[in-house]
Symmetry: C2
Subunit: 147 residues, 2 copies
DNA sequence: CTATTTAAGACTATTATAGTCCTGTATTAG
DNA sequence: CTAATACAGGACTATAATAGTCTTAAATAG
């Protein structure tokens, strides 16, 4: 079972791309090409971030997308939640027809704690961190350390 | 996005049922009825636990299923993994065509840590805990404390 | 022997995700 | 002003995952 969906993965890659070339405007076509993502699909994805104010869009010739915030300000949590909404372990357990049945169910507490753990973990990672790491590993690759 | 699937939820309910009536043999039909789960579907589910040695099956008339282990020995983690396999955040990030591209990717470490957190949390909850809690809450209900 | 109940696999239905396409509108180079 | 460029938004299709059903066989209690 996979928690992070494909489009979320695409989104992260695209945002890392934007964060790496801060201030520059990149078209969806350009990003898609460099990240192996279907263009039209990527546009759809980026639109969500535009609405959230995380990405700026620029129409017309020479237009495209750019990061609206500092890379250090955008957390993985924001990105993931923009794509797939709040992560939920399960709406209900041990209740036959929805959670309200057992308001004091112990699993509910456990699910919530797990959700919080994941969320706070993701909230601690920013695009800047990812960009830095990408630079790190490509430094290795340049020295001929492939695989 | 939901991490726990429907059939896993059914499985937990069914196992709690079995754990509550320890030693007794309950037919799939009986369990399904008491837990609002499609019978045939539940059979499929229980078969998985039989194979894992968590549940014993008894064919023929008056047959059914019973818990093969002590309720305190069966963890939520086992149950969830029996149904949906190991929980994975995502097989890969920031690599275009699979994880091997960046063996030292930072997200990989983060995903692993999150997976471990969830797993250890689930490993700390047993069927016994759930049965106890169900008894707790029904005690409240009996006193007329509905909602 | 017969009614009951699980085992196993094939099959279908439903829903979620992924991906495409088309039409419109803003922007800007020329 | 015009034409090319590139995003906006919605409708649409395809694919895959999940959920659920059905059918046949094998075991067992009475
Ligand atoms: S009964 Fe709804 S979360 Fe436990
Ligand atoms: S590149 Fe595969 S997990 Fe990061």
């Amino acid at each position: 079972m996979e928690v992070i969906r494909r489009n979320t993965e695409y989104a992260i890659r695209a945002l890392v791309h934007l964060a790496a070339n801060r201030e520059a405007v990149a078209s969806a076509w350009e990003i898609a090409g460099s990240q192996d993502v279907p263009v039209e699909f990527l546009q759809k994805i980026l639109q969500k971030f535009v609405k959230r104010g995380i990405v700026d869009s620029h129409r017309g010739a020479q237009g495209g997308f750019s990061l609206a915030k500092e890379p250090g300000e955008v957390t993985l949590l924001e990105v993931v939640e923009t794509m797939q909404g709040k992560l939920a372990m399960n709406r209900c357990f041990l209740g036959r027809d929805g959670c309200p049945r057992s308001p004091n169910c112990p699993l509910k507490q456990n699910w919530l704690r797990m959700e919080e753990q994941i969320a706070s973990h993701m909230a601690g990672i920013t695009l800047q961190d990812l960009v830095d790491q990408v630079r790190e590993s490509s430094r290795f690759e340049v020295r001929g350390e492939r695989q």
